[in-house]
């Protein structure tokens, strides 16, 4: 149910409360998924006219699960606080004194419901922690992470459904990795269809048993970050070492991610430097270059009355990866109607050179390459001429 439909059907007195929930509701770590509302029903008699729905199901993402809580208002008494049914968590019973927004419920405050839900989530977190106590190993994991200020404050746990047949205990840890994505160049983040929202990286570690023998880690990145880092296949996290601890593993993953991000940032700057250098060396011959992402560069060069184009493609992981050169003739067409071009990848190159160095060396290197190219061009020329003469005959 889309938020608009929900807002339309709900009783007018309750509309502001629901509005803040569906529009701005970000609860928990996974804020890319906002709160969803379904099953909007009414508590009034069926003869009551107009929008009078006052009870609904709220879907809250938490630790990789979705909590489905029923929230029950009374449309005839909108000033009264709501009641909750916590779905399958029949043993979850928070202490009302821990819910200040319930005790001092203010129906006039549109944020009241959202705040109450946040407080309930906090209590739910406590409740899950209590359930986690059944496994000492996992409890240790939790406590050790809690001590670290980097991770402790941004952790959600779900102490899982104990399988009543086999007595298996499972748990899931969802951690927000403290990686700084702010330096990622904006252009990389722009290219997504969705509202990027907050850039976040979440690490979800599932323990399928209490002894931590089956552990499945998974990294979730917000779409823009994923794109910036080169897609979902670009980042592979190492497997959880058997017998290892989260307190060792999580920083490892964090570091890996940070390195990747750093690399991307560096790459950007390097490319910028490269193009700047080329601009200064070949300034007059510059046709065009990518001024945002610095990924492409096109030069028009002349040597001994022979003009040609050089396209330079800079890869994402420049300078680790070598740029691709494409020589293109301005005179000749291939059979398919394209300009004749030749790709050159093997030329002297080292990632350790700086931009200036690369530009200088490029000049010399390209001459040789160009010579070959020119020779080819000449040959092509003569062939064409010959053919032309032949045809005259």
């Amino acid at each position: 149910m889309s938020p608009e439909v929900a807002l339309h059907r709900i009783s007018p007195e309750l509309r502001p409360l629901l509005c803040s929930v569906v529009r701005n509701g970000r609860v928990g770590l996974d804020s890319t998924n906002c709160l969803r509302v379904t099953d909007l029903k009414t508590g009034c008699t069926s003869l009551t006219p107009g929008p009078c729905c006052d009870r609904f199901k709220l879907h809250i993402p938490y630790a990789g699960e979705t909590l489905k809580w029923d929230i029950i208002f009374n449309a005839r008494y909108p000033e009264l606080p709501p009641d909750f049914i916590f779905g399958e968590d029949v043993e979850f019973l928070p202490e009302p004194s821990e819910l200040p927004h319930l005790v001092q419920w203010d129906a006039g405050n549109p944020e009241c419901l959202l705040q109450l839900v946040k407080e309930l989530i906090q209590q739910y977190h406590h409740y899950q922690y209590q359930r986690l106590r059944e496994s000492s190993r996992l409890l240790f994991e939790y406590d050790s992470l809690l001590e670290d200020p980097n991770y402790g404050r941004n952790m959600e746990i779900y102490a899982g459904r104990k399988n009543s047949w086999t007595g298996e205990f499972s748990a899931r840890f969802l951690l927000k990795l403290p990686v700084d994505f702010s330096d990622i160049p904006v252009y990389l983040l722009k290219d997504t269809a969705l509202d990027p929202g907050e850039d976040v990286a979440l690490l979800s570690v599932s323990f399928e048993d209490a002894e931590a023998t089956q552990v499945f880690p998974k990294l979730y990145l917000s779409p823009s970050i994923e794109h910036a880092l080169g897609g979902s296949s670009a980042l592979h996290i190492p497997a959880f070492p058997s017998g290892g601890c989260l307190i060792d593993y999580v920083p490892q993953v964090c570091q890996l991610l940070t390195n990747k991000v750093q690399y991307v940032i560096q790459g950007y700057h390097k490319r910028r430097e490269y193009i700047a250098a080329f601009l200064s060396h070949f300034g007059t011959g510059m046709v065009e270059y990518d001024a945002e992402g610095f990924t492409k560069l096109t030069l028009l060069l002349m040597w001994k009355d022979f003009c040609f184009l050089v396209h330079v493609d800079l890869p994402l992981y420049f300078p680790r990866d070598q740029p691709t050169l494409t020589f293109q003739s301005v005179y000749h067409f291939t059979n398919s109607g394209q300009l004749y071009s030749q790709v050159q990848k093997s030329y002297p190159y080292s990632p350790r050179w700086d931009g200036n160095e690369m530009a200088k060396r490029a000049k010399y290197a390209w001459v040789t390459a160009w010579k070959v190219f020119a020779f080819c061009m000449a040959k092509v020329n003569s062939c064409c001429k010959y053919l032309k003469d032949q045809s005259d005959y």
Partner: protein
């Protein structure tokens, strides 16, 4: 645990709930009983089962929500008292009605329930949840109700709530509900008009009169028992007398038989009776084969057309008695009749034996007439003995082979005398003349006539 609610209380709750424009709540009044059922099955002698029965008599709706608790769910005891007043003691649960929600206790309901359990001091407070579900076009509405027992373990929380007579009463009987009616008007009317049906103890008058009839019948039965006992004692006494007399008779007869034997032996030593001796064994053998046994269930065959005179019976008796052979084989004689018998002439000693012999000699039928089982009862009615004789006749044919069995089967308390004919001499015509062997059976006449 079982629970029941009377139909009118249930409908009243539904009425209040369905007419409210929001959620609705109230209290359930009633009582909790303990019932013990003892059941006997093939595997166990008895197993006692103790169940608690919750009966809901009445309900007390709350006028509005949050009337006795605040936003945090904390109960205000004063408000609770002002709502319940003096009915607080009979509160056994509370109910809540909400539309279009799950059948599960909500957060606030659980908190309130815990507090109510403590405040009211009812350890097993029940919670009745009504849920009203309507279809989208409001064509069908479903009222669902679940009774919870939240103070027990999580897995055993729901109790079935029975509403007596809610169902298909064409197939079942209309049951009188065990849930009593606590309405004041009802009790008043019953008080006024009850005197016509009930006596001062509260028991229905009809029941009392029936009980009186029953007591009277019981007294009569007791009296009859007494009479039966007395008559049985008299009968027993008479039986003993009869037995004694019989023993005396038997003793006397044995003595006379022994004397005559001695007499005969001394006579026989003089005379030589070869032909009789030859025939004797031939006569003896069929005679010895004659066995009778008392049938366990005495039959009552039709009386013979010519019942013999008592004299005949006696003579037959005596002739058999005169032999000194032990009473191992079959011949059962008719007994002298103490009561109701025509006369008691002195028994002729040998008449029977010769009659026996004659009977055997002339007819191919090895059955002998006088040997009949005496199956008479203590009354000594003659007809019985005659009948028994006939019965004895019928049995003769079967019994020929059952010489030995006869002793065991003899359950009669009367002595069975052996057919002494085996040892009797065949001899004298006088005895023959006396003997009337065949009169006792349908065949007997013919033989008798043959012989004479």
């Amino acid at each position: 645990m079982a629970a029941s609610i009377s139909g009118y209380t249930f409908s009243s709750v539904c009425y209040h709930s369905a007419n409210s424009n929001s959620d609705h709540e109230g209290f359930l009044l009633g009582e909790v009983r303990q019932e013990e059922t003892v059941s006997i099955s093939d595997t166990q002698i008895s197993s006692a089962e103790l169940i608690q029965v919750v009966e809901i008599h009445n309900h007390d709706p709350c006028a509005q929500l949050f009337s006795f608790y605040d936003y945090a769910g904390k109960i205000n005891e004063e408000s609770l008292n002002s709502i319940l007043k003096d009915r607080r003691k009979s509160v056994i649960g509370w109910y809540r009605f909400r539309r279009n929600t799950q059948q599960q206790m909500s957060f606030r309901e659980q908190i309130i329930h815990k507090q109510l359990t403590e405040l009211l001091g009812v350890p097993d407070l029940v919670f009745l949840l009504f849920s009203f579900i309507s279809t989208a076009n409001s064509s069908t509405h479903a009222l669902e109700y679940v009774l919870f027992r939240p103070n027990r373990s999580r897995f055993n929380q729901r109790i079935t709530l029975t509403i007596p007579n809610l169902g298909n009463t064409s197939q079942q009987e209309y049951k009188v509900s065990s849930v009593p009616n606590t309405s004041l008007s009802y009790t008043q009317v019953i008080k006024e008009h009850g005197a016509e049906f009930f006596d001062k103890d509260g028991v229905m008058k009809d029941i009392r009169t029936i009980f009186q009839v029953y007591s009277a019948l019981q007294d009569k039965v007791q009296a009859v028992c007494g009479e039966v006992e007395q008559s049985e004692r008299v009968k027993e006494k008479i039986q003993e007398d009869v037995n004694k007399l019989k023993q005396q008779i038997a003793l006397r007869k044995r003595k006379t038989a022994e004397e005559e034997k001695r007499l005969r032996e001394s006579q026989n030593a003089d005379s030589h009776s070869t032909p009789e001796e030859n025939t004797e064994p031939s006569l003896a053998s069929p005679l010895s084969r004659i066995t009778f046994h008392t049938p366990s269930a005495p039959e009552r065959p039709s009386t013979s057309p010519n019942p013999p005179s008592y004299a005949d019976l006696l003579s037959q008796d005596d002739s058999l008695l005169s032999s000194s052979s032990p009473p191992t084989s079959a011949a059962l004689l008719p007994r002298p009749q103490a009561v109701g018998s025509p006369g008691h002439p002195t028994p002729g000693p040998l008449g029977m034996a010769l009659g026996l012999g004659l009977g055997l000699g002339t007819s191919s039928n090895p059955v002998t007439t006088p040997s009949t089982p005496y199956l008479g009862n203590g009354d000594g009615s003659s007809s019985d003995s005659l009948d028994r004789q006939a019965a004895g006749q019928e049995d003769d044919e079967d019994d020929e082979d059952d010489d030995e069995e006869e002793e065991d089967e003899d359950s009669s308390e009367y002595e069975n005398l052996v057919s002494e004919a085996a040892h009797l001499p065949v001899g004298s015509a006088s005895i023959l003349a006396q003997g009337r062997p065949a009169a006792l059976s349908p065949d007997g006449d013919a033989r008798g006539s043959q012989t004479t």
